[in-house]
């Protein structure tokens, strides 16, 4: 009716994608204290109990903290990424329909899903990154992270964030609102305990069946990749981790499969 409209579909879609991301970031910025508390409270207690209290009373060795910290970073990051997508998506697709306004924005439906993944990944990365200063504060002299693989560390944090967001998209589009509590029990709990968070993968060699089970959990690869990047050499030995090509391949495959599947289910939930 009034001013000239942009006609380039590519520009329209890219702009809508950017504006949607800005919306998510604006909402998160407003809830930043809540987000940080939510992201930090569990890992802080993990670090306190497992890396400070237990070694102090002789129930764990002193360098346990160095092995555990990468696992905590991976776990926190994946959970933050998953939760950043899953809960809003389950509610939106279930009954709130607040996402409708974004679905009517001039962009393809899959791009709305892609924005969710990017946003979830960013949330995960921030949650993972803030663990470092928190851990430094809680662990004090037990804080040990090698500084010579910082590039790998950043890469791992980015990749783990996207993998977690991909998982979140799948859960968010598959789970119905009435199944939310079941989801926590059935999906998140096994993810939490079979992901090599509290133990390095190589140490499981004596329990072969469990070692194999952990390979089906994307968190295993995130935790092991982060161990590779973070655990300093002890007594002149570099810690044995899952080979990095496996780690990278597994996380990339997780992302691709989850996004492919999640974007399809997302579409089928919003376009009938």
């Amino acid at each position: 009716m009034t001013s000239a409209r942009p006609t380039n579909r590519l520009w329209l879609a890219a702009n809508a994608f950017g504006a949607t991301l800005r919306r998510d970031l604006a909402v998160t910025r407003r809830e930043l204290p809540q987000f940080l508390v939510q992201a930090l409270i569990q890992p802080m207690f993990f670090l306190l109990i497992f890396c400070k209290i237990l070694p102090s009373i002789g129930l764990a060795s002193g360098n346990f903290a160095a092995l555990m910290l990468p696992g905590i970073v991976g776990l926190t990051e994946l959970m933050a990424a998953i939760q950043g997508i899953t809960l809003p998506l389950v509610l939106d697709l279930g009954f709130a329909r607040e996402i409708d306004d974004r679905l009517l924005a001039p962009m393809p439906v899959w791009l709305v899903a892609a924005e969710k993944v990017l946003f979830g990944a960013l949330r995960g990365m921030v949650a993972g990154a803030v663990i470092f200063p928190a851990a430094w504060w809680v662990l004090g002299s037990h804080y040990a992270v090698r500084g010579d693989r910082i590039g790998v560390l950043i890469g791992m944090i980015v990749l783990a964030g996207f993998a977690g967001a991909g998982i979140g998209l799948v859960i968010g589009t598959v789970v119905k609102p009435e199944q939310i509590s079941l989801m926590f029990a059935l999906i998140l709990t096994p993810l939490l305990f079979t992901g090599c968070t509290y133990y390095p993968w190589s140490a499981l060699s004596s329990i072969r069946w469990f070692q194999v089970v952990t390979l089906f959990n994307p968190l295993t690869y995130a935790a092991e990749g982060l161990r590779y990047a973070m655990v300093p050499p002890m007594h002149g030995h570099t810690m044995a981790t899952l080979p990095m090509p496996w780690v990278l391949a597994a996380l990339a495959v997780t992302l691709v499969l989850c996004f492919g599947f999640g974007a399809r289910t997302f579409r089928s939930r919003v376009v009938s």
């Binding site: 009716m1 306004d101 009517l104 001039p106």
Partner: protein, 333 residues
Amino acid sequence: MPTLPPAIEVRDLVKRYAKANVNAVDGVTFSVGAGEIFGLLGPNGAGKTTTIGVLTTSVLPTSGAAAIMGLDVAEDPIGIKQRIAVVPQQSNLDRSLRVREILTFHAAYHGVPRREREQRADALLDELGLGDRKNDRVARYSGGMAQRLMVARALMHTPDVLFLDEPTNNLDPQSRLFLWDRIRALNAQGLTILLTTHDMSEADQLCGRIAIMDKGRILVNDTSAELKKLIPGGNALELRVSLPAPDAGARMLETLRGLAGVSKVDELDAGAPSAPDEEMGVATYRLYAERAPALVGPATQAALLAGAQVRDLHVKQPSLEDVFIYLTGRHLR
């Protein structure tokens, strides 16, 4: 000068949902010219919302085609989304945002430049009577205010076609009248509007043309006045009288039937809404005729001759409800 395509064009549209054994929309064809207010009228389940769904890209057609401003909905959903706006039945306002942000972000999604979207948000909030609540959270909004906010949001990217799905369904009478006024004003500015409703008076009040839908099909599609002409006998004369004696009713009926030009006379039962008076000896008759007003004189005379006292006499215009009943044999709700 090239002829403009119709604002909305729907051809042989069929939609069958997965696992359903009937078509939700079953071969619908209509077109809406630019600047029209067009109504889809029908009971729940008639296929109105599915038809809107196809036109707003949230439902994929099983067969047939639909286009808006000459763009095919299946081929160019991005172009379609740029040209349309939807006000849904139930609130889908983004509750994480404040009122004004709901408008500015909506415009941002559509690529409206910052300065323009800020100005437009303020103007629309004032226009819709929400100017003093712009920093509220939506959770505090009443149904009527949420509806107005959704209308404001819809207008933020200056669409060509506005879809209103049962716009006043859950509104109090005051909000309803306000919204009707807004809809007329928007239409006067050139906006094409398609609305669905199962409210007869709403369709009658607002729509230039109305398509009556039932069971996935369009039964008729015309102006309100033309639709009402579908009822045979056109209009009717309603006559209420006090009878001199309880047995005078039969004779009265006989006399009325004998009047020239009368095609049919119904005696309405006392329980009917048009004859709420349950007084003894009061009867209401409906006389159908091609030209009901011409019966005023003869009917009064017939009543006086029968010794009855005329309580009320009026020419009754058929309503869209009557048209729907005539076409389907069922009430709308």
